[in-house]
C-alpha cells in the first residue's frame, strides 16, 4: 500500500511539466518575491517567501528529474522529500498563500510561482496534508453542490424572498434562456441583494437569463484545495446543466476564483472546449453599458475605492471594466496606491477564508489592506467578489474601521434607470 509520502511524490511528479522545469531551472533564489507577498510583508517571517513555499515540489523535481539532484541525493549531500516536510509545509502552502499571484508579477526570471503552488497543492491533497476546513468544503461541495452546504431548498427560499421584496421574477431552469447565471453560496446566504440586482438589471436590459437547480454554485473547492478530480467534477456539473438548458453563455458571479475555475481551468479540467462562452458578470455589465442597455441615474459623492479581486485582475484580465462601471455612479472614486494588476489581496483567497486555522494569520495579513484604506480615507469600499467582501468586512470589523463594503453589481442596480415595469416574465 502506498504511503502518504509516496502518494505525494507520485502526485507531484505528475504535475511537473515544461513550465515547472523551466521555472525551477531559472530560479536564482533572489527572494524578490517575498516583498510581493502580504503574508511575508505583514509578518516579517521569511518562511512565507513564495519560492520557499515550493520547497517540497522543488525537492521532487530535484530528486526525480535533475541529474545533479539525483547524484547529490546518492552522495548524501541533499535530503529527499520526507513526510515531515509535507507536515511542516502544509500551513505555508494553504494558510500562508492566497494564490493571489502578486509574486508572479515581480519575479525577474518570470516564474509563475502561483502556477506551481497550485500544482504543489495537488501533491499535498493526494497525501492528505490539507486543512480540515478545506477538506470539509470539498466534501460538502461534492455532496450538496455547495462548499457551505447551501441546498437547493435554501436557494429557492432566497429566490422567493427576493421575488417578494422586489416584485421581480427570478427564473429557475427557464427554457430558452441565453445566459445561465452562477452564484456563490455567500451570495445566496449573505448577499441575496446580488440576485435581486441581476433580476433588475437583466430585466431592464432584456437579457434572457436563468438559474439552474442542478448547477447554481460557482465556487470550486477543488481548485482551492488543489484537487483536479474534484475541480473537474464540479465544472462538469455546470457544463451538464448548461447543455441541458441550451444556453449560449454562462455568467461567472462576483467571485474571483470561480471565474478562474470555469473560464481558464474549466476546459482543461474536463479535457474539451466548453459548449458555451464564459463571461464574468462585470464583463457582461460593461458590455450592456457600451450597448446603452445599462443606464443609471444619479451618483454618490461619497469618497470610495475599489478592491480588485486578485483572480479577476492578475489571472483574468478584468481590470478596466469595473472602473468604467464605477465611474457611472460615483463622482469621487479614488484608486489605492497599488491597484489593478498590482493590487494587494484581501488575504482570504485561494481557500484561506475557508480554513479556520488560518484566521489569525489572515487577520494579520489584512493590515496591508487596512493601511491602504487609511491612506485614502474612503467612506465606502466597493468590490466584485463575495469572498473578498466577507473577508474585508471581517478585517474591517476586527480593526474597528466602520467602512461599508458593497458589491459593484448591487451599486449599479441601486441607480438603475428603470422604465415603467412591464409584467415580468423572467427569462423572456
Amino acid at each position: 500500500m502506498e504511503t502518504r509520502l509516496e502518494k505525494a511524490v507520485s502526485a507531484m511528479k505528475g504535475q511537473i511539466d515544461a513550465r515547472v522545469v523551466s521555472y525551477f531551472s531559472s530560479c536564482i533564489h533572489c527572494g524578490l518575491c517575498a516583498d510581493a507577498c502580504l503574508f511575508y510583508t505583514e509578518t516579517g517571517d521569511p518562511r512565507y517567501t513564495p519560492i520557499y513555499k515550493l520547497e517540497p515540489l522543488r525537492k521532487v523535481w530535484r530528486q526525480e528529474y535533475s541529474f545533479w539532484g539525483k547524484l547529490a541525493l546518492k552522495l548524501g549531500l541533499e535530503k529527499p522529500l520526507t513526510e515531515d516536510d509535507l507536515a511542516n509545509w502544509e500551513d505555508l502552502i494553504y494558510d500562508g498563500c492566497s494564490l493571489c499571484a502578486r509574486c508572479t508579477l515581480v519575479c525577474p526570471v518570470g516564474n509563475d510561482i502561483v502556477y506551481m503552488i497550485r500544482r504543489e497543492r495537488e501533491g499535498m491533497v493526494a497525501s492528505g496534508y490539507a486543512p480540515e476546513g478545506l477538506q470539509g468544503a470539498v466534501e460538502r461541495s461534492l455532496r450538496t453542490g455547495s462548499p457551505m452546504g447551501v441546498s437547493l431548498k435554501t436557494l429557492q427560499a432566497s429566490i422567493r424572498n427576493v421575488e417578494k421584496d422586489s416584485g421581480l421574477k427570478v427564473p429557475l431552469d427557464a427554457e430558452g434562456a441565453d445566459y445561465l447565471a452562477l452564484l456563490s453560496s455567500m451570495e445566496v446566504v449573505n448577499f441575496p441583494e446580488y440576485i435581486e440586482a441581476l433580476a433588475r438589471i437583466f430585466r431592464e436590459a432584456g437579457v434572457r437569463w436563468t438559474l439552474s437547480s442542478e448547477a447554481y454554485e460557482a465556487t470550486n473547492s477543488g481548485i482551492q484545495i488543489g484537487d483536479s478530480k474534484v475541480a473537474a467534477e464540479l465544472v462538469q456539473r455546470v457544463v451538464t446543466a448548461a447543455e441541458k438548458l441550451g444556453v449560449k453563455y454562462v455568467i461567472s458571479p462576483e467571485c474571483g476564483h470561480a471565474y478562474t475555475a470555469i473560464r481558464w481551468e474549466g476546459p482543461n479540467l474536463i479535457g474539451r472546449e466548453l459548449p458555451f462562452k464564459v463571461v464574468h458578470i462585470l464583463e457582461l455589465l460593461d458590455q450592456l453599458r457600451r450597448e446603452g442597455k445599462l443606464q443609471t441615474e444619479g451618483s454618490t459623492d461619497e469618497r470610495l475605492t475599489f478592491h480588485d479581486p486578485c483572480q479577476l485582475v492578475r489571472r483574468g484580465g478584468v481590470v478596466q471594466e469595473p472602473r468604467d462601471l464605477l465611474n457611472m455612479v460615483a463622482t469621487d472614486f479614488v484608486e489605492m496606491a497599488d491597484h489593478g494588476v498590482m493590487n494587494w489581496c484581501c488575504g482570504g483567497g485561494g481557500g484561506v477564508s475557508a480554513n479556520e486555522r488560518a484566521e489569525p494569520l489572515r487577520l494579520k495579513a489584512f493590515n496591508r489592506k487596512k493601511r491602504q484604506l487609511e491612506d485614502l480615507g474612503v467612506q465606502t469600499l466597493v468590490t466584485a467578489c463575495a469572498n473578498c467582501r466577507m473577508v474585508l468586512e471581517e478585517g474591517l470589523e476586527e480593526n474597528e474601521m466602520y467602512i461599508p463594503v458593497i458589491g459593484l453589481t448591487e451599486m449599479l442596480a441601486e441607480r438603475l434607470v428603470e422604465h415603467e415595469r412591464k409584467p415580468d416574465t423572467g427569462s423572456g
Binding site: 533572489c30 527572494g31 518570470g110
Partner: protein, 213 residues
C-alpha cells in the same frame, strides 16, 4: 605541462560539457511537455511571451524601495559581466582565435575598468545580501554559493591576468573559467539561458488571459 593541459584537452573537455550540458538541460524542459490550453484565448500567446521576455529586464518600481540595493546590485553585476564577457579585448581575441574566427570592436581600457568595478561591486553586494538577509539566507543553497565564488574567482584572476605580464595568471584564469564551464549546466547559472523560457511561458499565459503584466 599544466599549461598545455589547460590550453588543450581540458578546454575541449570543459567546452564540450558546457555545450552538451546546456543543450541537455534545455531539452529536458521541452521533454517535460505542456498541455495545449483549451480555454479560449483573449490574445495570442507568442507576442506576450516576447513582451515579457524584454519587459522583465525592468524591475517594477514598487520594489525599488524594499529591495533597492539588491536590484541595483543585480543590474551592476549583470551589465558589468556582460560587457566584460563579450567586449573585453582579451576575450574578443580569444573568441576570434579559438571559436569564431572573427572578432568585433572592444571596450577601451577605461570602460573595461568601469565594467569590472561594476561587476565586482555588484557580485559582492549580491553575495553579502545572500549571506546576511534573512529571506535570501533561508532560500539560498550550496549551489548558489559555489556559483558566486566560482564567478568571483574567474573575474578576479581575469583582472589579474589582464596585462599578460605573467602567464601563470592567465593559465589560472583559464583553468577556473573551464571549471565554471563544467559546473554551469548543473547549476542555477542555467538561468542565463532558461530565463527566456520561463519568462516566455508566463508571458504567453498572461497574454492568453488578457493580463497586461
Amino acid at each position: 605541462m599544466f599549461t598545455e593541459f589547460v590550453d588543450g584537452p581540458f578546454w575541449y573537455f570543459s567546452a564540450t560539457v558546457f555545450v552538451v550540458g546546456v543543450l541537455w538541460r534545455l531539452l529536458a524542459i521541452f521533454r517535460a511537455g505542456n498541455l495545449h490550453d483549451l480555454a479560449p484565448s483573449r490574445a495570442p500567446g507568442f507576442p506576450g511571451a516576447v513582451r515579457m521576455t524584454f519587459r522583465r529586464f525592468i524591475v517594477h518600481r514598487e520594489f525599488l524601495r524594499p529591495a533597492g540595493l539588491h536590484v541595483i546590485a543585480g543590474y551592476m553585476f549583470h551589465i558589468g559581466l556582460f560587457a566584460l564577457l563579450f567586449f573585453a579585448a582579451p576575450h574578443v581575441e580569444f573568441y576570434k582565435e579559438r571559436i569564431f574566427g572573427f572578432g568585433w570592436p572592444t571596450l577601451p581600457h577605461w570602460a573595461f575598468v568601469l565594467a569590472a568595478d561594476f561587476a565586482f561591486a555588484g557580485l559582492l553586494l549580491l553575495w553579502l545580501h545572500r549571506l546576511l538577509h534573512p529571506v535570501r539566507r533561508l532560500i539560498s543553497n550550496v549551489d548558489d554559493h559555489i556559483a558566486s565564488i566560482l564567478v568571483f574567482l574567474v573575474m578576479l584572476t581575469g583582472c589579474m591576468a589582464l596585462f599578460e605580464s605573467f602567464d601563470p595568471l592567465r593559465v589560472i584564469h583559464y583553468f577556473l573559467a573551464e571549471l565554471l564551464l563544467i559546473y554551469f549546466p548543473f547549476s542555477s547559472l542555467m538561468h542565463t539561458f532558461t530565463f527566456v523560457l520561463s519568462r516566455g511561458f508566463t508571458g504567453s499565459t498572461y497574454a492568453h488571459h488578457g493580463v497586461d503584466a
